[in-house]
């Protein structure tokens, strides 16, 4: 607990010593990382839902597994594109 308090005090001291430009850059980096993390959550939920429903469909009708897997794979790839767009936006805002 004491160590955590020490770390918090050190962080506050470091933040107080930053110039406005450095503080702005610091906040921008944190927000960019947070935005990328948030952008990855949605596709993660979406992929989970797609797979859950696909497995349910394959368990109910094993004879249609090929068709279900085909559409499932495309759906997952499209959902993954959202995460890639989030990543690309992060990279371009942060480094370009």
């Amino acid at each position: 607990m004491e160590a955590l308090t020490r770390i918090a005090h050190a962080s506050i001291r470091v933040a107080a010593e930053l110039t406005p430009a450095e503080a702005k850059a610091n906040a921008a980096a944190q927000m960019a990382g947070l935005a990328y993390g948030l952008a990855a959550i949605g596709p993660g939920i979406g992929i989970g839902m797609i797979f859950g429903k696909a497995i349910e469909a394959m368990a109910r009708q094993p004879e249609s597994a090929g068709m279900v897997r085909t559409t499932m794979f495309l759906g997952v790839a499209f959902t993954e594109a959202l995460a890639l767009i989030g990543f690309v936006a992060f990279i371009l805002l942060k480094f370009a």
Binding site: I47, V76, F78, E80, A81, F87
Partner: protein
């Protein structure tokens, strides 16, 4: 209890030993990617020079590799268990995203990398190839008669394959 039911089958033991459609989809995507790649690389070379062309080529390789790994994971684990397939794909999503992020992070300061064409290529190739493939898949599902047939002999050309 459900397990007393003779017809009860656990999802842990269910698997699919049939042909893997993901492999066929990815083969098709890679075939289309090899058609699109020179155009994207050429456009990047026009706007960003040689570095843009290298970056674009790197982006295409990343996207096609991502598709190939995703397909391999699904088809390999589906032969073992559907539950494993779901687990592998969900963790695989994080893993593949991390690999792409690392692949871009490690080269972002390299002299041959232009970030804008690299990032644009990743998004455009990924989404564009999927839309291209979706056109074929939706046609095959809606009209099974149009589905391309396997050619019996390499010398015999199937007119329905186009």
């Amino acid at each position: 209890m459900k397990t007393d039911d003779p017809q009860y089958v656990s999802i842990l033991s269910m698997n699919d030993q049939g042909p893997a459609p993901e492999a066929a989809i990815v083969r098709d995507i890679i075939k289309h990617g090899s058609i699109v790649a020179p155009i994207l690389i050429g456009l990047s070379a026009v706007f960003w020079g040689v570095n843009g062309a290298w970056s674009s080529a790197y982006g295409v390789v990343l996207v096609l590799g991502n598709f190939a790994v995703a397909a391999w994971m699904v088809s390999y684990t589906a032969r073992i268990s559907y539950a494993l397939m779901m687990g592998a794909t969900l963790f695989g999503y994080i893993f593949r995203l991390a690999v792409i992020a690392a692949a871009v992070f490690f080269v972002r300061n390299a002299t041959w990398v232009e970030l804008v064409p690299l990032c644009m290529t990743i998004v455009i190739t990924h989404v564009g190839l999927l839309f291209w493939e979706m056109r074929y898949i939706s046609l095959s599902l809606a009209f099974p008669g149009l589905k391309p047939k396997h050619v019996a002999s390499p010398t015999v050309q199937d007119s329905t394959s186009n």
